[in-house]
């Protein structure tokens, strides 16, 4: 068959979001020297425009399902869902960065270009239909995040975070690449459907496939900060600039979970009996380690880092249930988790002050009296993180544990929900400090949040309530998407 390497117009439409982000990112780099002095806010505005345009492109691309570039990419409901999710994460990150960057005197096009590139990599990850494409997307996303973690280059903590993230991250990517190589050695294919077909052939060695799955699992588990590969997360989240921590805790994580789900539930579904118990153990370990470690933290960013490990554990529960409903629950939870986590980090951006000096839990003291609006928003996010009904976090947990019970993982569900009762303690502690302590210096000195930050608080709060009160639309979409067109 004479292959045509010229992309068709449909191919281009299916790849439109990535194209938009790449062009916008490059443009920002070019504009940087021209406008950095005069109108530094321009970069933020432009990236929001680009992200919104990319969302439109992603939605319209969803009307032409199918593969692009000779099967390297695939546009399906699953990919579109995650594309839109990471793009929304990008918008919220940019919104909460306005104040942060001007406070730190670091408003550049470079920052926003890196965010856009990282999101572009994530979009490639979630729509990739080929192991090489997945790897490329993973690298684009990761390299941009490594740089972002060390964005304030004169800050020691930023440097430490970037270095740690880079060294450990490359190491983990190496594992993933080993897995890819073994699969290629076994099946001589890189495209996911072809690999699946090859693995389902009766004479394929499942032992070798199991080794490849294990190696990929290590690489991906690192990216989603699941135990036992979670140790980097607290240090990196604590050291990186607060909006970047928010971004790293949600965007790359969602994309990594997307490929996790796509690879393990489609390619490796034949050997699910082998990997599901491993995921079971990792899920329980992540929830337990995350929640119990978070109990003793006094640094807000570190606490949220441990809490994000625990939340990765909840999502791993959905993966362990190895079912369509589990996939859909994981997709739903990732959206709810992204909203509440970005909102909580936006509050941290707000209170931390120049140089991120105020990161102790006590620094929230009296926020309820001094800044009732921000405190109310934080309350919404915390209640959602606890999993109180009428918030997205509750429905997410509910769907995940329902999926677990459907798959007869009763003990995992019981232990997971008991874990969430433990978690309630450290989230409640923040509520206690915000509302029940007398206002401290930090709260007294705060000014009302600006429009960007206010939007970064209100939008996730609305989203949290929408997911909590009317989850039907999103859920029916995810349930469809979770079938992977099967």
């Amino acid at each position: 068959m004479p292959a045509s390497f010229a992309p068709s117009p449909t191919d281009l439409l299916r790849f439109a979001p990535e194209t938009i982000l790449t062009i916008a990112g490059t443009l920002l780099m070019v504009l940087d020297p021209l406008f950095a002095r005069r109108t530094p806010r321009l970069f933020g505005h432009l990236s929001i425009v680009a992200l919104v345009a990319a969302i439109f492109a992603a939605v319209s691309a969803n009307s032409v399902h199918g593969v692009a570039f000779s099967g390297l990419l695939i546009v399906d409901d699953f990919g579109t869902y995650f594309r839109v999710l990471v793009l929304c994460i990008g918008i919220l990150t940019v919104l909460s960065s306005y104040r942060y960057l001007s406070r730190e005197d670091a408003e550049t096009g470079e920052y926003h270009a890196l965010i856009l590139f990282s999101i572009m990599g994530q979009c490639v990850m979630v729509t990739a239909n080929d192991l090489i494409m997945i790897f490329i997307g993973l690298e684009i996303s990761s390299i941009a995040s490594y740089v972002l973690a060390g964005y304030l280059r004169n800050d020691k903590r930023n440097n430490e975070a970037a270095l740690k993230y880079f060294l450990l991250g490359s190491f983990a990517t190496g594992f993933f690449l080993y897995g890819v190589a073994i699969i290629y050695g076994l099946t001589a294919k890189t495209q996911l459907p072809a690999i699946r077909a090859a693995l389902n052939a009766p004479d394929t060695s499942l032992m070798v496939a199991g080794v490849a799955a294990a190696l990929m699992f290590v690489g991906l588990c690192f990216k989603v900060s699941g135990a036992p590969f979670q140790v980097w997360a607290p240090d990196v989240y604590q050291g990186a600039p607060a909006p970047v921590s928010a971004f790293m805790a949600t965007g790359p994580k969602a994309a990594a979970f997307a490929i996790f789900l796509r690879i393990f539930l489609t390619v490796f579904d034949r050997i699910s009996a082998t990997w599901a118990p491993v995921v079971w153990v990792c899920a329980l370990a992540s929830m337990t380690i995350g929640n119990f470690a978070a109990l003793t933290q006094n640094n807000l960013k570190r606490m949220l880092a441990y809490s994000s490990i625990a939340h990765a554990g909840y999502i791993l529960v959905a993966l362990a249930s190895d079912s369509d409903f589990g996939t859909s629950a994981a997709m739903f939870y990732l959206a709810a988790y992204a909203l509440m986590n970005l909102g909580a980090f936006a509050v941290i951006v707000y209170i931390s002050g120049k140089g991120e000096k105020h990161l102790r839990i006590e620094d929230l003291a009296g926020l309820g009296q001094r800044q009732p609006f921000t405190a109310a928003m934080m309350t919404v996010f915390l209640l959602s993180l606890i999993g109180v009904p009428l918030t997205g976090g509750f429905f997410g947990k509910f769907y995940i544990f329902r999926a677990a019970l459907d798959s007869h993982l009763t003990w995992l569900a019981v232990l997971g929900l008991l874990n969430s009762a433990v978690a309630a303690y450290y989230y409640l502690r923040l509520l206690v400090v915000m509302y029940m302590y007398e206002p401290g210096e930090v709260a007294n000195a705060l000014e009302a949040p600006g429009p960007g930050l206010r939007a970064a608080l209100v939008l996730p709060a609305i989203g949290t309530f929408v997911l909590g009160i009317m989850p039907g639309t999103v859920l029916s979409f995810t349930q469809n998407a979770a079938l992977f067109g099967k």
Binding site: L390, F401, T410, L418, S420, A421, A424, L428, V432, S476
Partner: protein, 520 residues
């Protein structure tokens, strides 16, 4: 939208509107929330008027799909069991608002808004007929109460609020697991459908399954009741809460636990409920006596009332797990009685705290000479609380003891000790606070009721007398529903044993002849 839904919506709408009133308009906030709570009370009386007795099943039903997949319904309705609890909630909320009129001075807007949110959640709990919806309201109630205790409470409020939240939350997550488990079996959250599936035997629970599910539900409810030995959050929460918080907590929130036992544990898991009844009743009796003994030695009035609640709620649990018509009727009636009389005690203690800024019994003495009306009302409430005939608690306790005696006489014998002890600790406290030597502080700082306080206590006293003298207003409706619930547990047992009466030991036979195996 039917009347019940309007009643649920009014406090919720009131809550949202209150949030948008500027915080400086404190008086407007008070008046507005009071008006909303009065409106809700009027609507709840409308429910009473519209309720048709003689019909089994729910009334004021609405059942629409809330979430399509997995199917979760907005399914609300009331029966005789929930009717009076809803009225009680709506009746006490205006009193809670009035009693906080002056005593709450910081973050006024938030305080009164939370009271309305609390009312919304409580009415929802009693009206929900979908297990998922029930769980939702159950958890929603936690949030306002957590803040009420934590922000406006006394010195150790933070500890108490955390303890309260974590105890209840930990108990309810296991209930959530059970609810989801039932869903995976039944494919629905609709309570009536689930009951029908269980009863008809289309879903057979194994013995282990039924026991574990029962225990998970039971633990969540027992913590809320609270049953000995999971009661330890209650004294802390009560003592530290502001008066309105203690009032709503004791009068209505504790009833969520006993309501859950009657509504869910008995009909859904009849076999497990009967098998485990013996140790539950033992715990209830321990609670009755232990609560009374600990109350006796309390130096703090509020703590004394709190421990008396542990004792009183033990009676309610005993009545429920006697599986007799009388016991169950008495238990439900006692839920209401306890709500009125203990609520009144908390209001009165709150009134005295506002004057003297102390809760310690030793800081009072001779109050009767300077505040005779306060002393009179307090005495009536005390007498109601210890179960004097003609006042409300007597009716409930009598029925419970009678029902328990039908089941097993020894239970009544032990539980009756609690009645005697309650007279001891209440009257002894009354004596130390209202008689004896009058100190200067008390003399100068203990004026009698003002008009607002009269408005709080008069309705409560009227209800004590009414419920004690003419229980016929309330009990028939309750009784109909209870006999239906007992039928449900009875037929399930009969079906499980192949339609024949179980071969039971003589003592177990005594349990059954009370109600479940009546040839209806």
């Amino acid at each position: 939208m039917n009347l019940l839904e309007i009643l649920i919506a009014v406090p919720a709408a009131g809550f949202l509107v209150t949030l948008f009133i500027p915080g400086a308009q404190e008086q407007l906030v008070r008046l507005f929330t009071l008006a909303v709570s009065f409106l809700a009370f009027a609507l709840s009386l409308g429910l009473v008027a519209g309720y048709e007795s003689g019909k089994t099943g729910q009334q004021f039903v609405d059942n629409i799909v809330w979430i399509a997949k997995p199917e979760i319904h907005w399914h609300v309705g009331i029966d005789g069991l929930s009717l009076w609890l809803i009225v009680l909630t709506a009746f006490l909320t205006p009193i809670a608002i009035l009693v906080s009129w002056r005593s709450v001075q910081k973050q006024v807007k938030e305080f009164f808004a939370f009271l309305l949110l609390l009312e919304f959640g409580l009415i929802g709990v009693f009206a929900a007929w979908d297990l998922f919806l029930f769980y939702t309201f159950w958890e929603v109630v936690l949030v306002p109460m957590y803040f009420l205790i934590g922000i406006w409470g006394h010195d150790r409020r933070i500890y108490a609020a955390l303890k309260f939240f974590l105890y209840t939350f930990a108990g309810s997550v296991l209930m959530l697991v059970s609810i989801i488990y039932i869903y995976t079996l039944a494919g629905t959250f609709d309570y009536a459908t689930i009951l029908e599936l269980f009863r008809s035997g289309r879903i057979g629970l194994s013995h282990t399954e039924e026991t574990l599910l029962f225990l998970a539900f039971f633990l969540a409810f027992a913590i809320k009741v609270p049953l000995f030995p999971v009661h330890t959050w209650l004294p802390d929460a009560h003592v530290e809460a502001p008066t309105a918080g203690s009032l709503m907590l004791a009068s209505v929130m504790l009833k969520m636990g006993t309501y859950g036992l009657v509504r869910f544990c008995l009909p859904m898991f009849p076999l497990a409920a009967r098998e485990n009844a013996w140790w539950i009743n033992v715990l209830a009796i321990i609670g009755i006596i232990y609560g009374a003994l600990v109350a006796m030695v309390q130096p703090n009035m509020k703590k004394l009332v709190a421990y008396s609640s542990v004792s009183h709620l033990g009676f309610v649990v005993l009545g429920i797990f006697s599986f007799t018509q009388m016991g169950l009727d008495g238990a439900v009636y006692q839920m209401l009685n306890h709500g009125i009389s203990t609520g009144a005690l908390f209001v009165l203690v709150g009134v005295m705290y506002e004057r003297r800024h102390s809760l310690a019994i030793k800081d009072f003495g001779g109050v009767a000479t300077v505040a005779p009306w306060l002393a009179t009302v307090f005495l009536i409430t005390t007498l109601a609380s210890i179960g004097l005939p003609m006042l409300n608690n007597f009716v409930g306790e009598f029925l419970i003891l009678q029902g328990a005696a039908q089941a097993r006489f020894v239970w009544t014998a032990w539980a009756a000790i609690g009645v005697i002890l309650s007279a001891c600790y209440m009257l002894w406290m009354y004596q130390r606070v209202f008689f004896g030597e009058l100190s200067d502080e008390v003399k100068h700082h203990m004026p009698d009721f003002n008009i607002r306080e009269w408005a709080c206590v008069v309705p409560l006293v009227v209800m004590m007398v009414w419920m004690g003298m003419y229980s016929q207003t309330f009990i028939p409706v309750v009784s109909e529903t209870n006999s239906h619930i007992l039928d449900q547990t009875g037929t399930a047992i009969a079906r499980a044993s192949g339609g024949a009466v179980l071969a039971l030991s003589p003592s177990d036979g005594a349990i059954l002849n009370g109600g479940a195996f009546h040839a209806r």
